[in-house]
Symmetry: C2
Subunit: 205 residues, 2 copies
DNA sequence: GTCTATATGATGATAGAC
DNA sequence: GTCTATCATCATATAGAC
């Protein structure tokens, strides 16, 4: 269902089938609970093919994580397409934040398994630490800039930045957990707006 | 270091050694990444002993999760010792909430590995669903009561309860993640108060 | 790129002595 | 309760033909 424009990797169908299958199995059975043999079989390829595309099971996990994180980042950052935050700060910070918030919620609702995968493996010891940090910084760096700017404009409360970043992330995770548990409520304006309001009330000046 | 008064289970030293070792290994290596042989060896017992105390590896995980959750619940609920919420609503809801918040943060800082274990396995497919739900309800039921009462008194904002519960939980998880990443800041009053203020601002009326 | 076949070691769990 | 010894199975990864 997902449009895959701009593929830079020479991804054959088999390679993508392996990634898709691994995603589902890692989420439902855990990393060590899903054997490479099972992944290969369910993807309709041979184990030799799996190890041709991924040098090890760990590398498969790492590449899967990075590809999903990138897909997420590319999607939500489109909210600010053609908008340079360094030179043109937002007039209405709240409106921008709400746009970003809603887009992120929408992505999670549209991609529940990928969201769940991220929830499960963002903290897991199976994932290489540098991969985790690399993925985090690409997104949190952007949010960090938004918060600092908001503080300078007097629209955002001035608590320690690191704490606020983790708090924003935590509230986002809580929201998408709620909406993936109750997908129907994701279309209910009352719940959608409440989820953003809870978030905004905590950080506004 | 932890005082273990009131042990109701006939826990021999070996049984507890297995639980302690499993906790550490499950956190650092994952569930399927830690073999029963390794757990037994590192706990200083034979594999036969492990399977004498726990019928399977999965049961070991389940019992470990429940024991940690219970330990956590017993600790933080002491804040309200001798206080019946049904008959005596709080005069100062904010003060009570802050006491509870601080106690929970303190527990996480004092028990970083148990906290991390919970973070990792609360969502993981390896944990039996009924075990997860049983553990959750015991604590969230209490918070739920607090929120509803606060709403009735006009001190808490009236957003949908389920959403607010997940949000509270999410903000707590974010805070303890921050404080376990930077334990020194856990003693800094500025950061401690900021973490609660972020939380309180989002839910106060 | 993809396959089949396989090497090599580890895995969860059990049996039965003490 | 605790141990040693062991089974049957499954794990990751490789070799080499096509």
């Amino acid at each position: 269902m997902t449009s895959r424009a701009l593929e830079n990797k020479p991804a054959t169908n088999k390679r993508q089938a392996i990634l898709d299958t691994a995603l589902n199995l890692f989420v439902t059975q855990g990393f060590h609970g899903s054997s490479t043999a099972q992944i290969a079989r369910q993807a309709g390829v041979a184990t030799g093919t799996l190890f041709h595309h991924f040098s090890s099971k760990e590398m498969l996990l790492n590449e899967l994580f990075l590809s999903i994180k990138q897909e997420f980042a590319e999607d939500i950052l489109q909210v600010f397409q053609g908008l340079d935050l360094d030179t043109h700060p937002q007039r209405s910070l709240k409106a921008s934040a709400q746009k970003l918030w809603n887009r992120a919620i929408d992505w999670a609702i549209a991609n529940p398994i990928k969201q769940r995968f991220f929830l499960l493996y963002a903290l897991s010891p199976e994932l290489a630490v540098d991969v985790r940090e690399q993925a985090m910084n690409s997104i949190l760096g952007f949010i960090s800039k938004l918060l600092t700017q908001g503080q300078a404009m007097g629209e955002i409360v001035t608590f320690p930045l690191g704490l606020m970043l983790d708090n924003c992330h935590g509230q986002y995770l809580a929201s998408i957990r709620f909406f993936t548990d109750y997908p129907a409520l994701g279309q209910d304006p009352l719940h959608r707006e409440a989820s953003f309001e809870l978030f905004w009330r905590s950080i506004k000046a």
